[in-house]
Structures are given as structure tokens and as C-alpha cells.
Symmetry: C2
């Protein structure tokens, strides 16, 4: 008899509240409140996280968390991980949306032998990142991996 | 001679850094650092923002900011705006992704006459939200609008 694998469903909730002008905050039970604004180019205040920033950061952070999960599973000894991301927002057929997000992870592993393993794990993380798989933007990854 | 409208291109950059275990932080020049974690169900620590949370919050916050921009443009007098959002993450053909995000804005306007205008603006905000237009998840909106 064929058995079909069943997968869990997960739910993530949070709240946004308007403050004044183009500012507000995001909250989620038990988590620190984050003050947000529209970007300065859309009449918001500088120095605050914007929805656009949070979207790009979510992609970048999700790739890192997926990498960390796979690295731990495979026993990769990691020394450092930091990653820049930039999202490009363009008008496509009359509507603005993110068309491309470039992610540049700088990964340091604890031995030269682990470099190729880290590259493979990065590729899997890119392919299986939940947030990446939830975007219409093309997510491009440019990893740099070196040993300590 | 036909003139073609040209649209600006915008870029949003930020950085993510690994801390320890399944934790790290997101940073962007001049903005407060945000500590992040994998969700507890993926071996992260509770009480911290996760990439999944940030993604759902980005959709919710972008709808609010789009609403605020249109409301100001149309002269709508707004008293309150808060909105809950919940994202559903499911396995689709072997990969997890967000399939649906439900957004529930509670809007209070300063006069009964402004209720229908606020509903129209909400519909435009839903249609033109940049982050919504950058997701493969179906974004459903359930607005509640009342007067003070």
C-alpha cells in the first residue's frame, strides 16, 4: 500500500500599528517592538526599518538560517557568516515590485577541507530557503567561502 | 512623437550576521540592529524575530504604508490603523513556502462619510502594495473600517 508523507503546516503572526505621518511599529507576542517608517524617498524618516528593508532582510536571514540548519546537520564547523543583500525594486507593467535580490554571503569555515562542503550547503540553502521560495523576485547568490 | 514614461529604480540593502547556534542579527546603516533567530520549531529561541515573521510583517507593514500614502493624497482623516497578519507556510511539491497571508486591518476614520473612501483606498493599497506584488503567497485582506 502506498503511504503518502504528510507535512506540517506552520503559521506566523504579527501586528502592525500606525504611529504618526508615515511611521508605525511592528509587534509580535513576546518579541521586541520594531519602529518602522516608509523609506525617505516615499516621505518617511531615515534611520528606521522600512517594509522594503524587512522584505530584503527576510530573504537574506532565511538563507542564513537554512544554511545554519544544514551545516549543523552535516557537521560543518563554521567560524563566521555574514551576508549583504540588496533588493532592486522596479516598475513592471505599471506596478512596482522587487525584481531581483542579490545575496552575498561571506562564510568562514574552520578547515580548508570544509570549503567545498560549505559551497554545497549554500547551494542547498538557496534552493530550499522558505522565504526565497515565497518571492517572485529572482534571488541571486554570490557566496565567498574561505577557511580560518 | 510617442513619449514613454520612465520609472525610477530603487535599491534596498542590509546585512545579516551570525551570532551563535540559530541566532544572529540584521543591520542596515544608521538603523537599530534587530536580533533574529530561527523559529523555536526549527531549533531557534523564542522571543526573537524570525525570517518568517519579518516576511509576514513586511507584507502587513507595506500595505499600511501604501494605505497611509494614498490616504494622505486623498485627504482622508485617519484616527487609527492597526492590522494583524498571519502567514501560512506549507509544503508544496516538496518545498516549504508561504501559500497565504491573511491581513486584518482595523481602521478608524474621523467621520462616517469617510468609511467608504477608506475602503476604496484599502483596496488600492492591497492592489499596489510593493511587497504583496513581490510574493507568490496569496495575500487576502479583511478590513474593518469604522468612524470615531
Amino acid at each position: 500500500m502506498e503511504t503518502k508523507k504528510t507535512y506540517k503546516v506552520f503559521r506566523y503572526g504579527s501586528e502592525v500599528r500606525w504611529g504618526m505621518h508615515r511611521r508605525g511599529s511592528i509587534c509580535s507576542s513576546g518579541k521586541p517592538e520594531i519602529e518602522i517608517s516608509s523609506p525617505p524617498e516615499f516621505k518617511g524618516d531615515p534611520g528606521l526599518w522600512t517594509p522594503e528593508d524587512l522584505f530584503v532582510a527576510a530573504v537574506n536571514a532565511c538563507i542564513m538560517m537554512t544554511f545554519l540548519a544544514y551545516a549543523q546537520h552535516k557537521g560543518l564547523e563554521l567560524a563566521e557568516y555574514e551576508s549583504e543583500a540588496e533588493g532592486v525594486m522596479e516598475n513592471v507593467e505599471g506596478k512596482y515590485r522587487f525584481t531581483e535580490i542579490s545575496v552575498r554571503p561571506h562564510v568562514v569555515v574552520k578547515s580548508a577541507e570544509a570549503i567545498s562542503q560549505a559551497r554545497e550547503i549554500m547551494e542547498s540553502a538557496h534552493q530550499n530557503c522558505i522565504v526565497t521560495n515565497s518571492t517572485t523576485a529572482e534571488v541571486k547568490i554570490f557566496p565567498e567561502v574561505r577557511a580560518t
